[in-house]
């Protein structure tokens, strides 16, 4: 087929593979997160409650892993949908960089938000 199409679509294994890896991470950590918030603590959500949970270093690790994995998984998922409709075109690289910036930004913003609970 057209060589330019070939060139346009090189790579793709890492996003695909990482989507699977993060899926597994999210599956596990989300299960813990949901059990903790929606089954054990339902109707009992508050600032202090969260602080109590995150005081355990194990829970803090779970929530940080979840944050990182789910942000990647979500943005990479949106990117996959995006690519399906060829909306990227020649601006592919720009979109990829934008997604990375958003992702890293969101992660740090989330970590920043969680920090007082963990250290507090």
């Amino acid at each position: 087929m057209r060589p330019e199409a070939m060139a346009r679509h090189q790579g793709g294994m890492w996003p695909w593979l990482m989507q699977r890896v993060t899926a597994v991470l999210v599956f596990v950590t989300m299960a813990i997160h949901l059990t903790a918030t929606h089954l054990l603590n339902i109707g009992d959500l508050s600032y202090d409650n969260i602080a109590g949970r995150l005081a355990h270093s194990g829970m803090a690790l779970v929530d940080f892993t979840l944050l990182a994995a789910v942000v990647f998984h979500a943005l990479n998922g949106v990117r996959m949908v995006w690519l399906d409709y060829s909306l990227a075109g020649s601006g592919r690289r720009v979109v990829d960089v934008a997604f990375w910036i958003i992702g890293v930004g969101v992660f740090f913003y989330g970590a920043w938000a969680l920090w007082p609970w963990i250290t507090g």
């Binding site: 346009r8 679509h9 090189q10 790579g11 294994m13 690519l83 409709y85």
Partner: protein, 239 residues
């Protein structure tokens, strides 16, 4: 004498009318395949009707169509087994049309060609046959039966949205050679399917397996290719 009512999608690029449906009633005795019905219409009612045909025995892949809401080979579809009063006959969905039931297959074959669909040997061939055990041969059983009819290609949502996607048939062909014990292009063919217009554009929807009139399973082949690509890139394993 029983009759079959055909509701046939018509389209002539030159007429300027656009696509529409014509209805024809075909009498028959005993049994009638959709392909025979189309010939009856072409011979008796409308000489301008066109469709592809060749072997009429489900092996050439010419007459894949969308009949009564399913992907079928017209030659293999007996009207006695189709439900409903009217048999709706349409060309393969999502394909550009040439005329009536004939769609443009040029992209389909162009993509087939790009994955290097031929056995590649780098070492010297022996004087006699290349040995292949029945167990090795068994791996080819499913993919070599592909008749390139295009039903899977036309049913794949990834093809609908991404014009560059190779599609199930071409990837099944790549799989056919990747699992052939005689092929020696494990590294060479990899870049042609290990990319975003290749296997990673497949979302395991499995429409292709549902559509295949030969009951093959392209999904299985594509999944194998994905695993092979990861194995090769991460661990350098060629098998």
């Amino acid at each position: 004498m029983p009759e079959a009512r055909f509701h046939i999608k018509r389209f002539d690029p030159k007429s300027g009318v656009g696509a529409h449906y014509d209805e024809f009633t075909v009498p028959y005795e005993g049994s009638l395949t959709v392909l025979e019905g189309l010939f009856y219409v072409q011979e008796h009612f409308d000489g301008s009707l066109c469709f592809r045909y060749c072997c009429r025995a489900a092996v050439c892949g010419s007459c894949a169509m969308y009949i009564d809401g399913r992907y079928r080979l017209a030659c293999q579809s007996n009207v006695n087994h189709l439900k409903g009063d009217v048999i709706v006959v349409e060309p393969l969905p999502h394909m550009p049309l040439v005329k009536d039931l004939v769609c443009d297959m040029s992209e389909f074959f162009a993509k087939y060609e790009t994955i290097k669909p031929w056995l590649i040997r780098t070492s010297q061939n022996p004087e006699k046959e290349l040995p292949q055990t029945p167990k090795e041969r068994l791996k080819l059983d499913m993919p070599v039966d592909c008749i390139l009819c295009g039903a899977c290609y036309s049913s794949c949502p990834s093809v609908w949205t991404e014009g560059d996607y190779l599609g199930p048939a071409a990837l099944l062909k790549a799989y056919r050679f990747e699992v052939d014990s005689r092929d020696e292009a494990r590294r060479e063919r990899l870049p042609y399917f290990d990319n975003e217009r290749g296997v990673y554009r497949c979302h395991t929807i499995a429409n292709c397996s549902e559509a295949c009139p030969k009951e093959l399973n392209p999904t299985e082949g594509i999944q194998w290719l994905k695993r092979a690509a990861v194995r090769r890139r991460l661990f350098g394993r060629l098998k």
